[in-house]
């Protein structure tokens, strides 16, 4: 300590001798050292992000140039794995499936939740919290459980849905064997699980709209549909857009539903093959459907990059939409 004193006084010499300025003038390193507790407290996140966020990305650049079955030696193949994207029909099929299933599930669920939230938020409506609770319940169940229950409900021979259809004289549908109906079932799972979640978010958004605006519209003679269209929607649009985009981002990583429904395969004609599932198959993950493809960790990495790039593009769009959203600042 005594050794340091001359150094410190020399450093602070040109400064006015007030005590506050004296502290500030000490070498920045000492100022940082003085706050070591703060830095240690916030460091876990940054260390973990570096170790399990950044380093895997760097490693993924290297892996995407390799051909490797995970057991033998890894071989450098340059851009071959990237070129393989364009010659592998399954990639395009999986990309298409991911977006189609998502559009079939996500667009209806957002619209339905908007309508539902409008109904639940009617002034002086009774049982409001009962409705919220009932609709939110599916959200707390695990996707694995949801997939198991839906698989049984949509069974061809003993499934309840086909029994009900039979009651109305409609012939049994091959819900889990038909390439199109498979997507319908997964979309229904998305709708069933997501509806209450979106409903509750929209309700919160609607609650933040100034009630006097509704009052004014009503005095002007606007009906409920007109109010929804001219007041609620424009004010809620940023929330809708933001929520849809974040949901898209997680939806593009869809994996559990098809993996459980079809035991790791892509389903009939690979109609339920999603990008994450394809990546999982090339990784050679456990029970990835009787090894439908030869594991290639290099190619799996490239598929991971494709998902990454799509998500980054969507995130940028998401921020753009959020910037134009005055309401988002609320929380």
């Amino acid at each position: 300590m005594t050794v340091n004193t001359p150094l410190v006084s020399r450093a602070s010499a040109p400064m006015p001798p007030t005590s506050g300025a004296d502290t500030a003038a000490r070498a920045p390193r000492r100022r940082i050292a003085r706050h070591w507790r703060a830095y240690v407290s916030i460091s876990p996140f940054f260390i973990l992000f570096l170790g399990f966020g950044i380093i895997p990305l760097v490693f993924a650049v290297y892996l995407s140039t390799q051909k490797w079955d995970g057991l033998g030696p890894s071989v450098f193949v340059g851009w071959d794995q990237w070129a393989r994207l364009f010659t592998t029909p399954d990639v395009w099929l999986a990309l298409g499936n991911t977006f189609v299933i998502f559009a079939m599930g996500q667009i209806p669920v957002v619209i339905a939740a908007l309508v539902g939230a409008t109904l639940v938020s009617l002034p002086r409506l009774r049982f409001r919290s009962f409705y919220q609770t009932a609709f939110f319940l599916p959200q707390v169940t695990s996707l694995v459980a949801v997939a198991i229950v839906f698989q049984s409900i949509f069974g061809t021979r003993f499934g309840l849905v086909n029994h009900v259809l039979g009651f109305f004289g409609i012939e049994a549908q091959h819900w889990l064997e038909d390439p199109f109906l498979v997507k319908v079932v997964i979309a229904l799972m998305i709708i069933w699980r997501g509806f209450g979640y979106f409903l509750v978010i929209f309700l919160a958004g609607m609650a933040s709209i100034d009630p006097s605006m509704y009052e004014a519209a009503r005095v002007d003679g606007a009906g409920p549909v007109r109010i929804l269209w001219s007041i609620t929607l424009p004010l809620l649009a940023p929330t809708v857009l933001f929520v849809s985009l974040t949901a898209t981002i997680s939806g593009l990583q869809m994996f559990t539903e098809p993996q459980i429904l079809f035991g790791g395969t892509g389903g009939p004609n690979n109609a339920a093959l999603t990008m994450m599932l394809l990546q999982f198959q090339y990784l050679g993950g456990p029970s990835s459907g009787a090894q439908t493809v030869l594991p290639d960790l290099g190619f799996a990495t490239v598929i991971g990059w494709v998902i990454f790039i799509i998500l980054v593009v969507l995130s940028v769009l998401g921020i753009r939409s959020m910037r134009s959203a005055p309401m988002r600042r609320k929380r």
Partner: protein
């Protein structure tokens, strides 16, 4: 004039509210039905499940079915694994997120705003979508067939720190912190005894969401947990479905029912907190 308007409005809204109740009730029936059907199947015998027309009423075979769940797999172990893994990882996450959030909100230090901006920016990078490099890193660390990949990398999230910073800046008052310092409380004691108690509501809210995400986590446990004795509930369910799915659905359903029950009970107890905080939780991408 005003009287006529009021009476017309009452007449106009009442039928519309009845219509709203009708639509919502139909919706509730559709949404709750899969739960009811799950209970019906879990309590029916296998023969009852395959009866035509299907039985729509509860059966009496639940304990018989659940007995098969217990003998056929490591279901109970998985249940215990899920419980302790959820408690440990959520506790670590809450502590680290609260500590960092408190520091970002209440302690001034050089570079604070820059570091927080970096932290927020990381939320926009979709890390972890490339399974292979992450999996290889776990393998190189010798972490496969341990719970470390499910605890350490997610031990604290940018989202959690963000939420806890909001909580600390609104719930923890500077005066109380200063008073604690004057009383001679150090950095850690101030955090634990002054800041943490005031952040309790936010900790509960964020904690519930973290519990739901951890409990239902599927992809990574499937990839890294190879031993049946280590399985968590979602993996045990997947195995159960693989073993009984084509022969004995009532057994699978009994296991599924028991697996989702803890979160449903938790949800009913903390319903208000959860519903009030969903829009905050929505920020997580």
């Amino acid at each position: 004039m005003s009287l006529r308007m009021t009476s017309r409005r009452v007449r106009a809204t009442s039928p519309s509210r009845i219509a709203a109740h009708f639509v919502l009730m139909v919706g509730v029936l559709l949404f709750v039905f899969p739960f009811y059907w799950l209970i019906v199947m879990a309590t029916s015998s296998t023969a009852q499940i395959y009866s035509v027309p299907p039985r729509l009423f509860l059966g009496t075979s639940f304990f018989e079915n659940f007995g098969k769940v217990l003998e056929g797999s490591t279901f109970l172990t998985a249940f215990a694994n899920s419980i302790w893994l959820t408690i440990v990882s959520v506790a670590i996450h809450l502590f680290l997120a609260a500590l960092a959030g408190y520091v970002f909100a209440k302690v001034s230090f050089p570079g604070r705003n820059t570091l927080f901006a970096i932290l927020l920016a990381t939320m926009l990078i979709p890390t972890g979508v490339s399974l292979v490099p992450t999996f290889q890193i776990y393998a190189d660390l010798g972490w496969l067939n341990t719970y470390l990949p499910l605890i350490v990398p997610g031990a604290v999230s940018a989202f959690g720190v963000f939420w806890m910073r909001q909580a600390a800046s609104s719930a923890v008052s500077d005066e109380v912190i200063d008073a604690a310092k004057i009383d001679g409380a150090g950095f850690m004691r101030t955090f634990l005894q002054v800041a943490l108690p005031s952040m309790r509501p936010a900790l509960v809210a964020f904690g519930i969401f973290q519990v739901m995400w951890t409990w239902n986590d599927y992809l990574w446990p499937l990839l890294v947990l190879g031993k049946p004795s280590m399985f968590t509930l979602p993996i045990a369910l997947q195995q159960l479905q693989g073993n009984y799915g084509t022969t004995d659905y009532s057994v699978v359903m009994a296991g599924t029912l028991v697996a989702i029950l803890p979160l449903i009970i938790l949800f009913f107890f903390l319903r208000k907190t959860i519903l009030e905080n969903v829009s905050a939780g929505a920020l997580k991408g």
